[in-house]
């Protein structure tokens, strides 16, 4: 990696380390609220969320720059460093504001609205740099389409997520909540575009073939993904009293994800054959495990999109399992695969331990969340009050938190292993 891509990768790793720490603090506070009372849960949680979201974006951006730098396409190099500087200064400002107790108080984007402008500016800079650099590339591979989509959609949905500051949108709670979660649904889609684009770019480098990235099936799947990004956000807000047509549209569109699911199953056998060829590569091992989590999360996403199922598990830990499964199992493992690709590929004992610990503890962690959420949903519909529900799910929450602590160790070892292999180079 050269310059800007390396800088973004390093920023991403730093934010991940700190984000994991706040995740651990928040997890302990979940069962012991007095733990570290100087950083209460309502501060620890947004710190954790913002830092890990920044990890995903930083390394996703790093992959885009890596492509541009490797192909000698990067234009406005100085501007790309300004982009990095602005992104990080804004981020440090957000972290300080959280410590000082200054919040915008929105889910995910919990920072004060003043930070919207520098964030937006940094993404506009990124868009200018990216499009100016790739404009002359002919026959774009699918990952360029995905990165371009991710950048544009981020800018649009980020603006959309902040429409609550305009009276027209905030005059109605239904409109405000619906648009907030519509924006968040697509926003997650935008970082997924960056991450999945990175995955295909990486596969192209590992296999040294661009057959898939320019294939018809790659573009069909891209357009299915884009359709879902645009229209299937409403499962977040099924219980909000908005138009029934929106729910039906989202329900119908989300079922097209079955095609992607089918494709994964269909490809399983050939993936296994590829696995034999690249089995000694750290990045490939991480990519293969992320493939499993894609399957798992896609299945969960499809189930959540069915209104009858959604009715029971909405607002429970099943949704948390979906979010955590996607951000850790898919996004983080793909991004680690990208980072490891630039290091020595020797399978060390430390890497193997980290790899297995991360995947197995993630499995237990998600199972615990799904069980807790399912029980919560059932108890809620049997008319139990909040405190009865908390008691019912408590053992599952404890086991989830225990596996979360092991997961923390697993990811930390992955980071240590990454730095060690980097020293070996």
């Amino acid at each position: 990696m050269i310059r800007t891509s390396r800088l973004f990768a390093q920023s991403g790793l730093i934010t991940l380390c700190i984000g994991l720490l706040f995740g651990l603090i928040a997890a302990i506070q979940f069962i012991s609220p007095d733990f570290l009372s100087g950083i209460p849960f309502y501060k620890a949680r947004p710190l954790h969320v913002s830092l890990v979201v920044s990890w995903i974006f930083s390394v996703g951006i790093s992959a885009c720059y890596s492509y541009l730098e490797e192909k000698s396409l990067l234009r406005f190099k100085t501007l790309s460093l300004i982009h990095w500087g602005l992104y990080n200064i804004t981020f440090v400002g957000i972290i300080i504001s959280f410590f000082l107790g200054s919040f915008g108080g929105r889910e995910y984007w919990a920072f004060a609205p003043a930070f919207v402008f520098p964030i937006l500016l940094s993404w506009i800079l990124f868009a200018i740099i990216f499009f100016a650099s790739v404009i002359k590339v002919k026959d774009w591979p699918v990952y360029l389409w995905m990165w371009a989509t991710g950048i544009i959609i981020f800018i649009y949905t980020f603006c959309e997520a902040n429409t609550w500051t305009i009276d027209y949108f905030s005059n109605s709670a239904v409109r405000e909540i619906s648009i907030q979660w519509k924006a968040y649904g697509s926003l997650v889609g935008s970082w997924n575009m960056l991450v999945y684009g990175t995955a295909i770019y990486l596969m192209e480098k590992i296999s040294q073939s661009d057959t898939y990235s320019k294939s018809r099936i790659a573009f069909i799947l891209y357009f299915i993904g884009l359709t879902n990004l645009f229209f299937n956000w409403a499962h977040h807000v099924y219980p909000v009293p908005l138009s029934e047509n929106i729910r039906l549209l989202a329900y119908g569109i989300s079922m097209t994800e079955l095609l992607i699911l089918g494709r994964i199953i269909w490809k399983w056998k050939s993936n296994l054959q590829e696995n034999k060829a690249f089995k000694n590569m750290n990045s490939y091992a991480l990519m293969v495990s992320s493939d499993f989590w894609v399957f798992f999360n896609l299945l969960l996403a499809i189930l959540i999109s069915i209104p009858v199922i959604n009715f029971f598990i909405h607002g429970t830990h099943v949704v948390v399992a979906h979010a955590m499964g996607s951000t850790i199992g898919i996004n983080s493992l793909i991004l680690f695969a990208y980072l490891y690709y630039h290091k020595q590929q020797t399978r060390t004992k430390l890497f193997n331990t980290a790899y297995h610990l991360t995947n197995w503890s993630l499995g237990i962690f998600l199972t615990g969340l799904i069980l807790s959420g399912t029980l919560k949903g059932m108890a809620r519909h049997q008319g139990e009050n909040y405190y009865q529900i908390v008691q019912t799910i408590e053992p599952y929450i404890h086991s989830t938190l225990l596996s979360g602590c092991i997961l923390f160790i697993g990811i930390t070892l992955l980071i240590i292993s990454y730095f060690r292999s980097s020293q070996a180079n």
Binding site: G105, D139, F169, S170, I220, H381
Partner: protein, 140 residues
């Protein structure tokens, strides 16, 4: 797939997206219950103290505490005031001004009137959707 076909699909999707967005921004989310000034200020109080880190509105938010969409209709104003003023083992005692607390109560009152989260009066269709009937009398 040719470039012109890719562009064509993309343009069609974007146009449909913009049309759908217009619908979402206008009639799809129209409500008969406009927010009043006090409730609007209450929403900002809710955001200022980052309540969403622990609580949910319409099932959206943190899982440390309960959903608050219908807290006023289900538990009543004294209960809400008491919780915010005194805190609990899991919830910090927030040092809110009287005005902030009044506004927050107004916001919860307004939210409760928009609809009933987890309406207990429902039926299912054969194709997997949920019909939510009028809220139960208990909650009104």
């Amino acid at each position: 797939m040719s470039l012109s076909r890719k562009r064509g699909i993309l343009i069609c999707l974007v146009i449909l997206y913009l049309v759908a967005n217009y619908f979402v921004y206008t009639s799809a989310t129209a409500t008969t219950e406009p927010i009043n000034d006090s409730a609007r200020s209450g929403r900002l109080v809710f955001q200022k103290y980052n309540c969403v880190a622990c609580h949910q509105i319409y099932g959206l938010g943190g899982h440390m505490g309960p959903d608050l969409t219908n807290v006023m209709t289900e538990k009543g104003e004294p209960y809400v005031r008491s919780f915010v003023e005194n805190g609990t083992q899991r919830m910090p005692k927030f040092e809110m001004s009287t005005q902030e607390l009044d506004d927050l109560v107004s916001y919860f009152d307004y939210l409760g009137k928009t609809s009933e989260y987890q309406n207990s009066n429902y039926s299912f269709t054969w194709y997997g959707t949920v019909n939510q009937q009028e809220p139960t009398e208990k909650k009104l």
